[in-house]
Amino acid sequence: MSTNDSFERGEAALINAPITQLKAWLADGSLDAGHLTGAFQRRIDSIDPMLNSLISRVEPVVPRSDGALAGIPYVHKDIFCAKSTRTTCGSRMLADWVAPYDSTVHERLTQSGAVLLGKANMDEFAMGSSNESSHFGAVANPWDSNAVPGGSSGGSAAAVAARLVPFATGTDTGGSIRQPAAFCGVTGIKPTYGRVSRYGMIAYASSFDQGGVIAKSAADCALVLGEMAGFDPKDSTSSDEAVPDYLAGLGASIKGLRVGVPTQWFSDALDSAVGDAVTAAIDELRAAGAETVEIDLPDADIALAAYYLLAPAEASSNLSRFDGVRFGYRCEDPKDLQDLYERSRSEGFGAEVKRRILVGTYALSAGYYDAFYRRAQMARRLVTDHFQRAFEQCDVIAGPVTPTPAFDRGAHSDDPAKMYLEDIFTIPVNLAGLPGMSVPAGFVDGRPVGLQLIGRHFDEARLLNVAHQYQQRVDWHTRIPPLGGDSSNY
C-alpha cells in the first residue's frame, strides 16, 4: 500500500484505508464509488466463505447523496430492519422474514450515502457471547478459525476485522459490540442508552439495547456514529441531547485526563496475560499525559446476576409477538391455537433463546416478581450509583473488556453460566446506560485483546478522543488477520 496513484492503487489500499481517506479519494475523483463497492464485494466473495460472517448479501444501491458517508460500503447486523431485505435476527423464527420498513439507523445511514452490502451474522436474537447460537451457523474468528468471534455482533466484528467492509453496525445489550470487537481486534463503540434510535432494531431487552458501530479505528467510529446518533421521534427513549461533531473532537490532548482504573476488575478472574495487555494500554494513556486513579467498582458479580434476570424478563415479553400468527415461522398443520403457539415457538426458537424466555417468564411470575425482578432493579440502581460515584474521581474508566481472549468454539456450550461470565466487565456499563468502547490493545497467543473505555452519559466525544489518542501511539488496530486475499500487511 505504497502508491498515491489512483490507477495503481491496489485492493489492499482500499480495504485498509480509513473512511476519511476513502472519502477524499471519492471526492477528488481518483476513486469511483462503483469501483469501491466492487472491491469490497470481491473481498466478501473470496473471504467470507471461510468466516460465515454474513447471513445475506444485498445488491448494492449507491444512494444519491453527498452525505458524510457517500459511497462507503458497510453491513448491518441482521437485527436492523432495512426495507425489502431479509432480516433474520439470526433466528429460524425470522429466517424468511423480509422487513417492510426501514429502521431509523438504516434511514440515516442511507441519507448519509452509505452503501449496504449485506446483513451480518449474529447470535439468535442477540442472545449470546460467541455467535454460536445463530440459526445460520457459527462465525469463525478471522485471527484463528478455532476461536469464536464473540457475540452477539460476531458477524459484524469478524467482517470488519477481515476488512470485508469499512464498518458495520452492531447492537450492545450486555457487551454485544465491545466483546466481539475485543475478540476480533477491531474498534467498537456502544453509545449512551438513548443516543441511537432503537426504532427498527429488533428488541431483545429494551432498557439495555443500544445500537452502535464497529470499525477499524476510533476515528472511523466517530464519523459513523455522528451519522447514526440523534433524537428520533419514533423512539420515546431516544435522547434529544445535541450530537457533537465527534470527528472534530479528535484532536484534543489528553494531558491531565483522569483515568479511573477499577482495581476489583484486575483480580484472579482476569487472565493474567489479558491483564498485562490492558495494563500496558493504560500505561500508554499515562504516557500521553493522562493521570490514573484507582476507583472502586465492587459489584460486577451483582451486575451480572441482575442483568441475567432483567434482560430475560424483558426478552420474554418482547419475544411474545413471535407466535406464528402474523409473521415469522409457523409450524406445519397446527391442530389448534395452543398447538400453533407451542410448536411454532418450540421449533422457531433455538435453545439459548428458549432458556432466556423461560428464565424471564419465571422472574416475572406472581410470587417471584419481588424476589427476582424487583431485587434485580434495586441492584441495577446500586451499580448505576457506584459508577456515578466513580465518575466524581475520574473522567473515563479504563479496564479489560473480557476476562480472557477469544475462547475456542464449543468451549462453553455445555455451561451457560460460564458463558455468561464472559460479560462480567461489559454488563455493568449496560445496567448504567453508559457509553463504552473496545479498543484493540494487543494479542495473547495470537488472539486479540481489547481495552475497555467507559464514559459518563453522553460523553462519547471524550471517549472517542481518548481512543483516538491511544491509536495515534499504537498500531494494534492496523493489524490485519492472515486470511489471504490481496492484503499485504502480514
Partner: protein, 495 residues
Amino acid sequence: MSDYVIPSGWEAVIGLEIHAQLATRSKIFSGASTAFGAEPNAQACAVDLGLPGVLPVLNEGAVRMASLFGLAIDAEISRVSSFDRKNYFYPDLPKGYQTTQLARPIVVGGQVTITTGEGKQAREHTINVTRAHLEEDAGKSLHEDFHGMTGIDLNRAGTPLIEIVSEPDMRSPEQAVAYARKIHAIVQYLGICDGNMQEGSFRVDANVSVRPEGETAFGTRAEIKNVNSFRFLQRAIEFEIERQVDLLETGGEVVQCTRLYDPDRDETRLMRTKEDADDYRYFPCPDLLPVVLDEATIESWRAELPELPDAKAGRYQSEYGLSAYDAGVLTASRATAEYFEAVIARDGADPKLAANWVMGEVAALLNRLELEINECPVPADKLADLLERIGDGTLSNKLGREVFEALAEEGGSVDAIIEARGLKQISDTGAIEAMVDEVIAANPGQVEAYRGGKDKLFGFFVGQVMKAAKGKANPQAVNDVLKRRLDGPDDPGVV
C-alpha cells in the same frame, strides 16, 4: 326503570369497570386512524401489527382526554403516571402483551353523584371511583365466515381506552345503571368518547356479589363481561343476584368467576373460574417514558372543562324553573341537552313549554322510530319555529301536534304547513264572537238551562263553537267570549 326488588334478607354489592374508547383521531401508540368501520386490517400500521423492531410513541391527545375525565369527576391527576405490560397470548393481541397502567394510573380517586327514583322517592348516592387508567384496545377475532378458521381484524388494536374502575359502592342494579349512565354522559359531555355501545366504544363489566343484610364482609364476586347496553346491564345484574342468592339459600357457594351475559337467553354464562386465570406477569414497559404532567398543563385542561350534567341540571332548575326530574332527563345525555338548548335559544322561547315538548312529543317520536335525538327528523330549529307559533297563539297545542307530525313525516317549514293545511288558529275576537252568537241563538233551551245553574253545559257550548270553527278557534278566546256572553248581561251590545 325496572321494578326489580332484591330478594329480602339480602344485599347486593356491585362495582363496575367501564372501558371507554377515547375519541382521538389516531391510535394511542401509533399514527394509524381510529375510525370505525374500515375494511379489516386497513387501519393497522407496523406498530399496531407489532412487527419486529417497532416502538410505541404515546399520543398526547389520549393523555389530555383521560385527564379531562379525571378533572370532571374531581379526581387527582397523577403528576407522574407510567405504563406497564400485561402479558398474555391471544391472536388478536399482536405483541403478546397489552400496554396499560397498573402501578401508576393517570387518574386516582374521584366520585360521581347519581339519583335513583322519582319525586318523593328520589335518592342521591355518591359513587366513588377508584382509578381510571390509559391502555390500548386489542383487535377482534372473527369466528364467522371463515369456514372453521378465525379471522383477525387489527383495526381496533391500539385504539386508546380509559378503564374506569369504581369502588363496590352500588347496592342495586338500578344504581349500577344510573352510575353507568352518568359516566356515559360525562365522557360524552367532555367529547372524549362517542359513547356508542353497539360499536363497542363504551363497554361495561360488572362485579357482583351478595351478602346477608347486615353483613359487612363482602361475598365472593362474579365478573360479568362486556355488557353492551344499559338494559342488558340491568338484566345481567338482576340475573346474577338471583343466581347467587339461589346458590347460597340452597346451601351452595359462589365461586369466583368470569361470566358472559347472553341477552337472547337472558342469563349469565360461565367463561372461566379463578383457577384458570392467567398470570399476566406485569412489569414496567421499557419502551415508554413515564408521563409527567405539570401544574400549568393540568390547569389549562381544567379551564377547558365544559358545563357538566350535574351543573347543567342545577342551572335548568334555577334559571328555567324546571323540576329536578325534568332537568335530570334533559341533561342525561349531551345530545338531549344540546337539542333542548338549541330550541330555547330562540328569542322569547318558553323553557317549560320546550321541556314538555322535548320530553313528550320528541321523545315519543324518537321512541317510535327507534332513533337517537341527533337523528331526530324534526330538528331543533323547526321545533323552535313551532313553539313560537304556539307562543304567539297561531297554533293551539293540539294543532301544534298536527304540525309536528307533518314536520316529522314530510319536513318543510312550520308556516308553510300551517298555511297549506289551513291550520291557523282563529284568534280574531270578532270572528269568534260571531260564532258564539250563532251558537247561543241556535240553542235557546240550553242557554236557559245553563243560566238556571246547569254549569256543566258550558262544555257543550265550547264544543258547538269549536265544531263551527272546525277545531281551529283559539280555545282560550272561545272560553272568554262564551263566559262573557253567557254569564254577562243579555244585551250583546253592552259588551
